[in-house]
């Protein structure tokens, strides 16, 4: 065991840092054109999808190099790239299960953000129990006809393509009648409505499908083989790059330390208040453990191990940690932590952030409440850890009992 960065990694970090210092835009990117232009620049520099094989537009970069780029981007306050979810889940899905033609058609444009993607999984009645989804895709000649509704679809209002899970066999047990289909979001019959979140922003959507016709060639993998595909992609979504989450928190906490030198609590700078110091110390220790745990995952990935059910531990850890840390930050900042309009610049996370915009303490606080819900709630992660990591017997659950009664094998569900 040696936890120091190799000389090669250090040199790479220096190079990335220098590139970012020169290229990070100085003003806030507002229009989609600006965001796409910045994304394209990152792509051209080789920072997008860098872990992919060269044949798909990547550079075969090691996980450590990807992590370094993620960390340095946060450090440089670089605007994030687009298509995060697409890169995290659509590309692995296509690489593992797509046809050659699909790979050639979609991967490059996704990486360059010429085409934006969304994940069309959740439905009003199929959240944690994803496998009970009802959105239908019926084969009609060489086309699927899609009818139904999706919900909580992040970025659907801006997306050009969606990775859809739909039911293609209604007579099969629930895990066995699902297919994975690529859907052009500009197809007639698709209606997207944005939903406002408690943060005041509108990032997720409802998507309605009415007789939407999609060519059969957009099927990924086998017909009715969608569940297995979803399982692999979900573990990518959960595994994710936890080091860049650490970097993002570090950025926030670095600012917090500055603010604590200015903010007065009981007649002295907050940084001198023993209670505040305890909380800051706790935050810092928690963040460091997140960094160590992330390095441990990285080193496993470096050895070529794929993220498995253990990724649930990482997801549970950082999402619950984020909630704790954001609560502590608000404790320290008192009412200023909840203030958006009129907060003095020297106490703001980013001066000028409005309600519903990233950059306020409040926004980070509210978003921490989502992390334990999306990509599998904390309860679901604990079930996975209990049953698939610890090997505990499965919970008695109505759908499993029903499946047994029906004589069908109980699938290993989304739980």
């Amino acid at each position: 065991m040696d936890l120091s960065y190799t000389l090669e990694d250090q040199a790479f970090r220096q190079w990335v840092r220098a590139w970012l210092a020169e290229n990070v835009p100085r003003h806030k990117l507002t229009t989609m054109e600006e965001k796409k232009a910045w994304h394209r620049k990152l792509y051209d520099a080789g920072f997008i999808g860098m872990g992919l094989p060269r044949e798909y537009g990547g550079r075969d970069a090691r996980p450590m190099e990807q992590a370094i780029v993620g960390e340095e981007m946060v450090r440089a306050k670089a605007p994030p790239p687009l298509n995060g979810l697409g890169i995290a889940i659509v590309i692995p899905t296509l690489i593992h299960h797509g046809t050659e033609q699909q790979k050639r058609r979609f991967i490059h444009k996704l990486l360059t953000a010429e085409e934006l993607w969304c994940q069309l999984y959740s439905e009003p009645n199929a959240g944690s129990d994803l496998a009970s989804l009802q959105c239908r895709a019926d084969l009609d000649g060489d086309e699927f006809v899609i009818n139904g509704q999706k919900i909580w679809t992040s970025g659907a209002h801006e997306a050009d393509w969606g990775l859809l899970l739909a039911r293609t066999d209604r007579s099969a047990p629930k895990h066995q009648g699902i297919s994975c289909i690529l859907v052009d979001m500009h197809t007639p019959g698709i209606e997207v409505r944005t939903l406002k979140q408690i943060s005041g922003s509108e990032e997720f959507c409802e998507v309605f499908f009415t007789d939407v016709r999609v060519p059969r060639e957009n099927l990924v993998g086998e017909l009715n083989g969608g569940w297995r595909i979803a399982q692999t992609t979900l573990s990518y979504e959960r595994g994710g790059n936890t080091l860049s989450r650490y970097a993002r928190l570090l950025q926030q906490v670095t600012r917090l330390l500055d603010v604590c030198r200015v903010l007065q609590r009981d007649g002295r700078p907050a940084i001198e208040d023993p209670v505040v110091r305890q909380k800051l110390g706790q935050i810092y220790a928690e963040m460091e453990v997140l960094r160590y745990a992330s390095l441990r995952i990285l080193s496993r990935l470096e050895r070529g191990l794929r993220p498995g059910p253990e990724s649930s531990l990482a997801k549970l850890h950082y999402s619950e940690l984020d909630k704790r840390v954001q609560e502590l930050i608000l404790d320290i900042l008192g009412p200023y932590g909840q203030q958006v309009g009129g907060i003095p610049d020297e106490l703001a996370l980013e001066p000028g952030a409005a309600y519903g915009e990233a950059g306020s303490w409040m926004y980070a606080f509210l978003w921490s409440r989502a992390g334990t819900i999306y990509a599998g709630s904390s309860e679901i992660q604990k079930n996975i850890i209990g049953e698939r990591v610890l090997g505990l017997p499965k919970e008695v659950r109505a759908d499993r009992v029903a499946a047994q009664v029906a004589g069908a094998a109980s699938g290993d569900g989304a739980d």
Partner: protein, 383 residues
């Protein structure tokens, strides 16, 4: 001993609940979130005219106590009611009552009781502190008037009340020495009112900048330089009142979660059948019931002038701060994605409870107060 509510108290709760559910539906709450004043004046007037104010009958009040105020505020937390009831009645009215200044009481309380006058209390300045040292805003006598210079932050409904009761420092002094109260009309020249935007859009607050504001000397409330004890009483009542409001928000969030867990199905069963959810809800109930005990014990202790009233007030605020945070946060978790949407009402309660958490003393402040009271022996039965 009887920890149950009297018939009158039960009736009072019913009256307020009925009034608010009819007159202040959530559509109204949401409209007020977007409204610059943040409340409907006519609704506010009818609300105070319900006859539940704590002030003596000779001023038009109902002479009710803190227990009744806690009942009223708990109901408001369940809406959550947007308006300056707390600011006027608990903060400003509470300080005016506690000042013992009968001239000021005569001048302000009848107008408060008939709803003509909405007030607020300006306490916090740039720093976060709930003791007398927090006060730096200067108040200087100039002939028949006072001149005020300084800043106040987080003034509840500071942008939309008529008069603001300002906690100021006169004649230098340190600590409790030199603290005065003075009422300043919102339209006083030199007073710059800047609306703030807080996470809880139903709770409007403002920054007030005093740049040579002059008010007649008769606007002073209580003795010059000796108003700290009245402010302290008002803050203590505010801590208990805020706890009651947070309790209301938390209980509402719990009820919504229990209802949801009984109808939402995943994996072929109600989510309330999963122990992860059932146990969470059971813990939430435990927190809410203990919060109830803490709030009403404190309210009783204040009314009874019990020796442990200050202790109980701080026990209540520090306990409810923690409880409401957990309960409202877990309520979102139990709801899943829908709990994260603006259209669903849960975030209104989550945000109201969070808004009140740092105000009138945060958890650490009140734990410190608890310890001080305990060490000083001001505990139950110590009279």
């Amino acid at each position: 001993m009887d920890f149950e509510f009297t018939e009158d108290q039960v009736m009072l709760r019913g009256l307020v609940r009925e009034f608010l559910s009819e007159q202040c539906p959530v559509s109204h709450v949401r409209a007020m979130m977007e409204h610059p004043r943040g409340y409907d004046r006519d609704l506010y007037r009818r609300l105070v005219q319900l006859g539940m104010l704590p002030f003596p009958e000779k001023y038009g009040g109902a002479g009710l106590g803190m227990i009744e105020q806690a009942i009223v505020l708990e109901e408001m937390g369940r809406i959550p009611y947007p308006g300056p009831y707390f600011a006027t009645v608990i903060l400003a009215g509470g300080a005016i009552m506690a000042s013992g200044d009968s001239r000021a009481q005569m001048r302000y309380l009848p107008a408060i009781c008939n709803g003509d006058l909405a007030m607020s209390l300006a306490f916090l300045e740039d720093g976060i502190s709930w003791g007398p040292d927090a006060i730096g805003l200067s108040m200087a006598r100039e002939g028949e008037s006072y001149r005020l210079d300084g800043i106040k932050r987080f003034v509840p409904f500071g942008q939309s009340v008529d008069d603001i009761l300002v906690v100021a420092r006169s004649g230098g002094g340190r600590g409790a020495e030199g603290i005065s109260l003075v009422a300043v009309p919102a339209d006083a020249p030199g007073l710059v009112i800047e609306p703030e935007v807080m996470m809880d859009l139903t709770s409007k607050t403002a920054t007030l900048r005093f740049e040579g504001v002059r008010v007649p000397a008769e606007n002073r409330v209580g003795p010059e330089g000796g108003a700290w004890p009245a402010v302290e009483v008002a803050l203590r009542q505010a801590a208990v009142g805020a706890s009651a409001e947070m309790l209301g928000a938390a209980r509402k969030a719990l009820e919504m979660s229990v209802d949801y867990a009984k109808v939402r199905k995943q994996f072929g069963q109600y989510i309330g059948q999963f122990q992860a959810i059932k146990h969470k809800l059971a813990e939430m109930l435990e927190l809410v019931e203990n919060a109830h005990a803490a709030v009403y014990y404190a309210a009783w202790a204040l009314d009874a002038g019990a020796p442990d009233a200050a202790l109980a007030a701080s026990v209540a605020k520090s306990t409810v701060n923690v409880a409401a945070r957990r309960v409202c946060g877990d309520a979102i978790q139990v709801h899943g994605g829908i709990g994260f949407t603006w259209e669903y009402d849960l975030h209104l309660y989550f945000k109201r409870a969070k808004h009140l958490e740092p105000l009138y003393g945060d958890t650490e402040y009140h734990r410190e107060r608890v310890l001080q009271e305990a060490l000083a022996g001001r505990v139950a039965g110590s009279a």
